[in-house]
C-alpha cells in the first residue's frame, strides 16, 4: 500500500503547478516548472513507470527547463500575470 506517498507527492505536484502559473517572474516560473516535472517524475516512479519517469527526469526537469531559461534569456522575465 503506497497510496499515502502517492497522495502526498500528487499534492506537491498540484501546488507546484498552481505556483508555476501564478508567480509574476518568468524565471521563477521556469524553476517551479522544473520542480513540477521532477515531482511528476517521482510520482511515476511510485507507480512503477520507471522508463517514463526516467524520460521525464531528463526531458521535463532537464532539457525543457534549459530551453525555457534560454528563451527567457532571449525575451523578457517580466510578466503581468
Amino acid at each position: 500500500m503506497h497510496w499515502p506517498i502517492d497522495l502526498i507527492v500528487l499534492t506537491f505536484v498540484i501546488f507546484c503547478a498552481i505556483a508555476a502559473i501564478s508567480v509574476k517572474d518568468l524565471l521563477a516560473t521556469a524553476i517551479l516548472f522544473g520542480a513540477y516535472s521532477f515531482m511528476m517524475c517521482l510520482l511515476w516512479t511510485i507507480m512503477g513507470a520507471v522508463d517514463v519517469a526516467f524520460t521525464e527526469a531528463s526531458v521535463g526537469a532537464g532539457v525543457s527547463t534549459v530551453f525555457f531559461v534560454a528563451a527567457i534569456f532571449r525575451t523578457s522575465r517580466r510578466t503581468k500575470d
Binding site: V50, D51, T55, S58, V63, F67, A70, F73, R74
Partner: protein, 273 residues
C-alpha cells in the same frame, strides 16, 4: 476572456469527472486495461524478442512503427527550429577581450576580424567573467555524463532507458559545455553541418533498418528478416532494437543541441547563455 475560460475549463472538468465514474479502481489488477494486451506482452515478449525490459520490447518492436514516427517528430522539431530562427547574417557589433590586461575592445562595425588566440578572445555582449570552479567541474563532469548517456542507450534492453533518454542526456552534456564555457566553444567544436547530418542520419538509421527488412523478405520493421545479416540469429530482434535505439539516440542528441543553440542565440550561433 478569463470568465469564459473558467466556464470552458469547468465544463471540461465536469465532463472528464463524469467519465471517471465507471472507471475500474486505481490499481485494480482485473481492470480491462491490464488484461487484454498487457498479459500477452508480459507473458510472451521475453520469449519472442529476448529483451527483458518489456517497455523497450513493446516500444521498439511491437509498436516500433509509432517510435519511428516519434523520432521523425523530434527530427521535425529540430528542423522547425532551424527554419524559424536560423539567421545567416553576421552581427556587426563584436566584443574582444585582451587577455593579459583585461581591456575590452568594442568593434561597432567594420570587416576586420581580430585573430583570437593567446592575446585576444571573443566575448559575449552580456558577458560575465567565467568562473574557474564552474569551468573545471564541468570539464571533469562532461565526459562522465557522456559515458553514462552511452550506457543508457546501450543498456536500454535490460534496464530503464534507451535511445531517447540516452540521447537527451548526451545532448544536455553538450548544452552544459555551452553554458559553462560559452556558445562559441560548442559551435566551434561541433559544426552546425555535423549536427544537421547527425539528426537526419539518426532517423535514417531507424527507417533504414526497418526498410532493409523488406528486400530481405520480411515485412516493414520485421527484424526477424535480418537474421542472415547478424552474427547471432537467435537474438536478432534484440540486436535490431539496439540498432534502432542507437539511431534514436543520435537523432535526439543532435536535435536537442540544435534547438538549444538556435533558441539561445536567436539563430545567429554566436553568443548565448
Amino acid at each position: 476572456m478569463k470568465f469564459l475560460g473558467f466556464i470552458v475549463v469547468c465544463l471540461t472538468g465536469a465532463l472528464l469527472l463524469y467519465g471517471t465514474g465507471e472507471f475500474p479502481d486505481w490499481g485494480d489488477p482485473n481492470s480491462p486495461a491490464s488484461l487484454h494486451l498487457s498479459d500477452y506482452y508480459i507473458e510472451n515478449a521475453v520469449d519472442q524478442t529476448k529483451v527483458p525490459n518489456l517497455v523497450t520490447a513493446v516500444l521498439a518492436d511491437y509498436r516500433g512503427f509509432d517510435t519511428m514516427f516519434e523520432t521523425s517528430v523530434i527530427f521535425c522539431a529540430g528542423l522547425a527550429c532551424f527554419l524559424l530562427l536560423r539567421d545567416f547574417r553576421e552581427k556587426k557589433e563584436r566584443f574582444y577581450r585582451h587577455v593579459p590586461t583585461g581591456v575590452i575592445l568594442h568593434v561597432k562595425s567594420g570587416k576586420k576580424v581580430l585573430k583570437t588566440g593567446k592575446e585576444f578572445e571573443h566575448m559575449d555582449k552580456d558577458w560575465v567573467p567565467s568562473d574557474l570552479i564552474i569551468k573545471t567541474v564541468c570539464r571533469i563532469l562532461i565526459p562522465f555524463i557522456q559515458i553514462y548517456a552511452l550506457y543508457v542507450v546501450a543498456h536500454g534492453d535490460f534496464s530503464p532507458g534507451g535511445g531517447f533518454q540516452g540521447g537527451v542526456i548526451f545532448g544536455s552534456s553538450l548544452i552544459l559545455l555551452a553554458i559553462s564555457y560559452d556558445l562559441k566553444t560548442l559551435v566551434k567544436r561541433i559544426k552546425e553541418k555535423v549536427l544537421g547530418i547527425y539528426a537526419a542520419l539518426g532517423v535514417l538509421i531507424y527507417v533504414g533498418i526497418a526498410a532493409i527488412c523488406m528486400p530481405m523478405g520480411g515485412r516493414f520493421l520485421d527484424y526477424a528478416a535480418l537474421a542472415p545479416l547478424v552474427w547471432d540469429p537467435h537474438h536478432v530482434r534484440a540486436l535490431g532494437m539496439l540498432g534502432v535505439e542507437i539511431g534514436v539516440g543520435m537523432a535526439v542528441t543532435a536535435v536537442m543541441a540544435i534547438i538549444y543553440i538556435n533558441i539561445v542565440s536567436e539563430g545567429r550561433h554566436d553568443e548565448g547563455l
